[in-house]
C-alpha cells in the first residue's frame, strides 16, 4: 500500500505537486505564492490535500475526509452507493453514480479515477485545532483549506473587502451554538437560562448557581470557555456578549477544542460552556436560552429551537480557501480543493456529514450558490447532478 501522496503525482515533469514546490519555495523566498498550487502544466496536482482549523467544523470535514480516503465503491451501501441492506442517503439524488466515491467527485474536476478502494485520486487529511488557527494557516498558505466556525473577518480582524479579495468562503453547514451545562446542574433544575444570565456568568457578575433566579443550588459556577481565536468563542462574544472583542472576565478555563470542552463539562460539577451542536451528550446537556422573551429550546420539535436560523447564536460553518494568482483561471481553488468541497454541497454531503454530526444542513438555495462558486474549475456541469 505504502504512501500515495506526493510520490504518485510527482512523476510528471516539473509538476511535483505541493511538496516539490515547497522545496522550490525554500529557494525563491516567496513561499506562499506557489504553495499547493497546480503550476498550470498538463497534469493535475494530486498531492495531499490538507485542511486545518475549527474543532466545530472538524466533524464535518474529518468525516468527509475519511469517506474520501476510503474511496468506497458503489456496491458498499454503508458509506457510498447501495446494496441489498442499505442505500446511502443522497446517493440516488446524485443519480446513482456507478463510480467509487472519491473517483466520482474527483473526476468532475478532471482527476483520473483510480477505481481502487482506499486509494482516492488524491489523499486528504484534516488537522484539529480551532478557527483562528485554521484561518491563519490558510492565509499563510500552510494548508489548503482553513476550517472556521466564525467568519474570517472576525477571526483575523479583516475587513469585508480584504476577505473577499483573499479567500473564498465556502459555507458547508450551520451550527446552532448551544449553551451546555453539566448534568448536576440540570438535576438542580436549570433547564433554561436567559441571555442576560449567560452574559452575567461570563462577565463574572454571576458566580454561583444559586444566584440564578429560581435555582437553589449552592455551587460555584465553573464557566468554561473556548480558546480566544476559536470560532465558537468569537461567535459567542459576537452574538451573546455583543461584540467580537467583548471582555469575558468570568471564564475559569479555556480549552482549545470543543471536544475538550465536552470532556471538561462531563468531568466537573457546576459547569457551563458554549460549544457546537455536534458535541452535546447526556452528560453535556444543552439548555434552553431565553432571548428577550423568546425561549429557544434544545429540542428539535419545539416551537423555537436552537436549530432555527433565527436563534441568535446560529452561525455558518466555513471552509476557506486561499485565492491564488497562479490557479488556473485565477480562482480561489485548485482542483483538489474544489473537488473536495463540492462533495459537501449536495444532499449526500449534507445528510451524511452535516446532519450526521448533529449540525444543521444548508437550505437548497445556499447550496446552489455555493456550487456556483466551485464550478469554475469543474469539467462538467455541477448544478445538475
Amino acid at each position: 500500500g505504502g504512501q500515495s501522496g506526493g510520490g504518485g503525482g510527482g512523476g510528471d515533469g516539473g509538476d511535483g505537486g505541493a511538496d516539490p514546490t515547497a522545496t522550490e519555495a525554500d529557494m525563491d523566498s516567496e513561499p506562499t505564492e506557489t504553495e499547493s498550487s497546480d503550476d498550470g502544466g498538463d497534469g493535475l496536482n494530486t498531492s495531499l490535500l490538507n485542511a486545518e482549523g475549527s474543532s466545530t467544523v472538524y466533524p464535518i470535514s474529518n468525516t468527509g475526509s475519511a469517506y474520501w480516503n476510503s474511496n468506497a465503491p458503489p456496491s458498499d451501501g454503508e458509506y457510498w452507493g447501495s446494496n441489498s441492506e442499505s442505500t446511502v442517503p443522497g446517493w440516488s439524488q446524485l443519480g446513482e453514480p456507478d463510480m467509487l466515491l472519491a473517483d466520482y467527485f474527483a473526476q468532475k474536476f478532471g482527476f483520473e479515477p483510480t477505481e481502487e478502494r482506499s486509494s482516492p485520486p488524491f489523499p486528504t487529511t484534516v488537522g484539529l485545532s480551532h478557527s483562528g488557527t485554521g484561518c491563519e494557516a490558510v492565509t499563510e498558505g500552510l494548508v489548503d483549506i482553513g476550517n472556521s466556525s466564525g467568519p474570517i473577518t472576525a477571526e483575523l480582524d479583516w475587513s469585508e473587502e480584504k476577505a473577499q479579495s483573499e479567500v473564498v468562503d465556502n459555507v458547508v453547514g450551520r451550527d446552532g451554538q448551544p449553551v451546555v451545562v453539566s448534568s448536576d446542574v440540570i438535576d438542580a433544575g436549570v433547564t433554561q437560562l436567559t441571555g442576560e444570565e449567560v452574559r452575567g456568568i461570563y462577565q463574572d457578575e454571576i458566580t454561583n448557581w444559586n444566584q440564578i433566579e429560581g435555582v437553589d443550588y449552592d455551587q460555584e459556577i465553573y464557566a468554561i470557555g473556548r480558546a480566544e481565536g476559536s470560532g465558537t468563542d468569537t461567535s459567542f462574544r459576537l452574538n451573546m456578549l455583543g461584540g467580537a472583542d467583548a471582555a469575558m472576565p468570568g471564564v475559569d478555563t479555556r480549552f482549545g477544542q470543543n471536544q475538550q470542552v465536552a470532556q471538561a463539562v462531563s468531568q466537573n460539577e457546576g459547569s457551563i460552556a458554549y460549544m457546537a451542536l455536534a458535541f452535546t451528550s447526556e452528560t453535556v446537556v444543552p439548555v434552553g436560552i431565553d432571548f428577550e422573551g423568546t425561549l429557544y429550546e434544545p429540542d428539535r420539535d419545539a416551537e423555537n429551537t436552537i436549530f432555527d436560523s433565527d436563534y441568535p447564536l446560529n452561525r455558518d460553518l466555513h471552509m476557506y480557501t486561499l485565492i491564488e494568482e497562479d490557479n488556473p483561471n485565477g480562482g480561489g481553488y485548485d482542483a483538489r480543493e474544489a473537488a473536495f468541497i463540492n462533495m459537501f454541497l449536495n444532499e449526500f454531503g449534507q445528510t451524511v456529514f452535516v446532519e450526521g454530526n448533529n449540525y444543521i444542513p444548508l437550505p437548497t438555495s445556499d447550496l446552489e450558490s455555493m456550487k456556483e462558486q466551485v464550478s469554475a474549475l469543474a469539467t462538467e456541469d455541477l448544478i445538475m447532478p
Binding site: G7, L142, V143
Partner: protein, 537 residues
C-alpha cells in the same frame, strides 16, 4: 558534657525493649500504608475497617503510636530502658517537632478558637515554641519522643473525638474558592504522623545517640527510595493496564494474518493498533503513521546531531587547547542542554519553517529535535573521549602516529561505548518530546495508514537545484507524543473514528511509553554491557 561514655564494643542480643521499638516502627508502617490507601481512595474514610469506622481506627492507632513513642522516651529517661542518648535532640529535630505544632497551634487558635489571623500567629508561635523547647532542652531520649508522641496523640484524639470526622470541611474563604476536606486532611495528617512516629521509633530502636539518629534517618531515606521505585512501578503498571485493552483490540495470531513485509513475507501476528492508521473502512483503528513518524524524526535528528556533536567533541577534546574557548563552548552546550524544549520549538518555528516551504514539515521537526539532541551528544561524547586514558594517546604518539590517525583508530573506538549510550539516552528523551514538534511538525490528528511517511520512497530527482527533492520530508506528519497530545485535546468526542476513545488514548500512551522506554532500556543495557566488558577485559 554528655554522658555518652557507656557504649559497648559488642551489643547484647535483641532485648525486649528492642522488640517494643521495632513493633512501634511496624505500627507506623501500618499507619503509613493506611494513609496512602486512604489518600488514593483505596480505603473509604466514611466506611469501616475491621469493623471500626476508618477515621476512628486511624485515630486509635495514632494514639497508640504516640503513647508508645512517648513511653519509650520516658522509660529511657527513667532508666528502665538501656539507651545511649545525647544530651539534646538537636536543632533539626527541634525544628522538625516545632513545625507541625506551629501549624496545629495556628489552626486551633485561628479557626477553632476563632481568634483570627493575629490570634492564629500567636497560637502558632506559642505551640511551635513550646514544642521547640520541649525537644531541644531535655535529654535526647525525652526530647525526640515526647513532643512527637504528644503530636501523634493529639491528632489521634482529634480523629477519635470526631472533631475532624469524614464530613469535616474547611473553606479557605479565598476569592477563588478552595477548601480543605477531611478526605484530604485525614490521610495527609496520618501520613505525616506516621512518618514522624516511624522516625522517632527508629531513633528509639537505635537507642538514641549517634546510632539512633542513624536509624531514624535511614528509615526515612529507605522509605523515600522505596516510594520512588514504587511510584515508577505503579506509573508504568497503570499505563500498561489501561493501555493493553486498546492495544490488543483485534489482535490476530496465525500464519498470514499480518501485513506483508518485503514484498512477500507475511507477519504471523496482526496488531491493528500499531499496524493500521485511521480509516473509514478499517475494522480497527491504529497509530501506525505516528509510530513511523516518530521513527523518522529520531533518525533525522540522529543523522543531524550525531556527526555534528561527535565532530565538535573531537575538536574540543583533541585539538582545542583547554582554555577560555573550550570553557565557553562548555557553558554554551550546557546552556543549550537545559534550554526548555518549547524554546527550541519557538526557534524552529521562527527559523526553520520559513526556510522549508513555510509550512510545518517532518524535516523541520527532525532538525528541531536535532538541535535539542546536539548538546547532549556533544557533552556525552566529550565526556567519553576525556575518559579515554591519555595512555592510549601517548602510546600511539610514541609510535609516531599522527593525531587524527590516533583519534580515529584509538580514541574513537574506545569512546564509542560512551557515545552510543549517550546518544541512545538522548534519543529516548527527544522521542518523547511534544512541545517542539507541536510548533514545527504536527500534522493531522487521525492519520490514515495510507499517509504513513515513506522518506526512502519519497526521494525524487528534479531539474532545478537542489536536484533532489523529497516531498515526504517537507510534509507534516504525526508522531506518537504529538498524537497523544492531539488525542488529549480532542477530548472524548473523537467522533466516529474510534469506537473506544479512552482505550485508544491509553493505548497510544502505552505505545509511546514502550517506544521511549525501549530506547532507554537499550541505552542502559548498552552501558551495562560496555561497562562489564571493560571490567572483564
Amino acid at each position: 558534657m554528655a554522658g555518652a561514655t557507656g557504649s559497648r564494643l559488642v551489643d547484647g542480643d535483641t532485648t525486649a525493649t528492642d522488640a517494643v521499638a521495632a513493633a512501634t516502627v511496624g505500627l507506623s508502617a501500618i499507619l503509613f500504608v493506611l494513609a496512602v490507601a486512604a489518600m488514593f481512595e483505596r480505603v473509604s474514610l466514611t466506611g469501616t475497617l475491621a469493623g471500626v469506622p476508618t477515621v476512628t481506627l486511624l485515630g486509635g492507632l495514632l494514639i497508640a503510636l504516640g503513647v508508645a513513642v512517648g513511653v519509650f522516651g520516658v522509660g529511657s529517661r527513667l532508666g528502665y530502658v538501656e539507651t545511649d542518648p545525647d544530651s539534646s535532640a538537636g536543632l533539626i529535630a527541634s525544628f522538625g517537632a516545632a513545625v507541625p505544632w506551629f501549624v496545629i497551634g495556628g489552626g486551633v487558635a485561628s479557626e477553632t478558637l476563632g481568634l483570627g489571623v493575629t490570634g492564629g500567629v500567636a497560637g502558632a508561635a506559642v505551640a511551635g515554641g513550646v514544642a521547640f523547647v520541649a525537644t531541644a532542652v531535655p535529654r535526647e531520649d525525652v526530647g525526640s519522643t515526647v513532643p512527637l508522641g504528644a503530636l501523634l496523640a493529639f491528632v489521634g484524639l482529634v480523629f477519635l473525638s470526631g472533631t475532624i470526622g469524614p464530613g469535616w470541611l474547611w473553606n479557605l474563604g479565598w476569592e477563588q474558592q478552595a477548601s480543605i476536606t477531611a478526605e484530604f486532611l485525614v490521610p495527609a495528617a496520618t501520613l505525616f504522623c506516621a512518618l514522624y512516629g516511624g522516625w522517632a521509633a527508629a531513633k528509639a530502636y537505635g537507642r538514641f545517640g549517634a546510632r539512633g539518629r542513624h536509624m531514624g534517618a535511614y528509615v526515612l531515606v529507605y522509605l523515600n527510595a522505596l516510594s520512588i521505585i514504587a511510584f515508577l512501578f505503579i506509573l508504568i503498571a497503570f499505563v500498561v493496564v489501561q493501555g493493553l485493552p486498546g492495544l490488543l483490540t483485534g489482535v490476530q495470531i496465525g500464519a498470514g494474518v499480518g501485513p506483508q513485509l518485503f514484498g512477500s513475507f507475511e507477519l504471523p501476528v496482526y496488531v491493528p493498533f500499531v499496524m493500521n492508521g485511521v480509516a473509514l473502512l478499517n475494522d480497527f483503528q491504529g497509530v501506525l503513521p505516528a509510530i513511523v513518524g516518530t521513527v523518522w524524526l529520531v533518525v533525522g535528528a540522529v543523522l543531524f546531531a550525531v556527526p555534528l556533536g561527535v565532530g565538535a567533541a573531537i575538536f574540543l577534546t583533541e585539538y582545542a587547547e583547554r582554555g577560555r574557548f573550550t570553557q565557553a563552548v562548555e557553558v554554551a552546550t550546557n546552556g543549550l542542554w537545559s534550554t526548555p524544549s518549547i524554546v527550541f520549538g519557538l526557534f524552529g518555528f521562527a527559523f526553520l519553517i520559513p526556510r522549508f516551504g513555510n509550512r510545518k514539515s517532518l524535516l523541520a521537526g527532525m532538525l528541531t529535535l536535532g538541535f535539542m539532541l546536539l548538546p547532549l551528544v556533544l557533552i556525552t561524547s566529550r565526556e567519553a573521549m576525556l575518559s579515554v586514558p591519555d595512555e592510549y594517546r601517548d602510546a600511539s604518539a610514541a609510535l609516531g602516529v599522527s593525531k587524527w590517525q590516533t583519534v580515529r583508530s584509538v580514541v574513537l573506538p574506545a569512546a564509542l561505548p560512551g557515545v552510543v549510550t549517550g546518544v541512545i539516552l538522548g534519543v529516548g528523551r527527544i522521542a518523547g518530546e511534544t512541545a517542539p514538534i507541536l510548533l514545527t511538525m504536527a500534522g493531522g490528528t487521525f492519520v490514515p495508514g495510507a499517509q504513513t511517511v515513506d522518506v526512502v520512497g519519497g526521494f525524487e530527482f528534479t531539474g532545478s537545484p537542489p536536484f533532489v527533492a523529497n516531498p515526504e520530508l517537507l510534509q507534516a506528519t504525526s508522531a506518537l507524543p504529538y498524537q497523544l497530545y492531539a488525542l488529549i485535546t480532542a477530548g472524548v468526542g473523537l467522533g466516529s473514528n474510534v469506537s473506544d476513545p479512552t482505550g485508544f488514548r491509553w493505548a497510544t500512551a502505552l505505545v509511546l511509553l514502550a517506544v521511549v522506554l525501549s530506547f532507554y532500556a537499550i541505552g542502559i543495557g548498552a552501558r551495562y554491557y560496555f561497562r562489564r566488558q571493560l571490567r572483564h577485559d
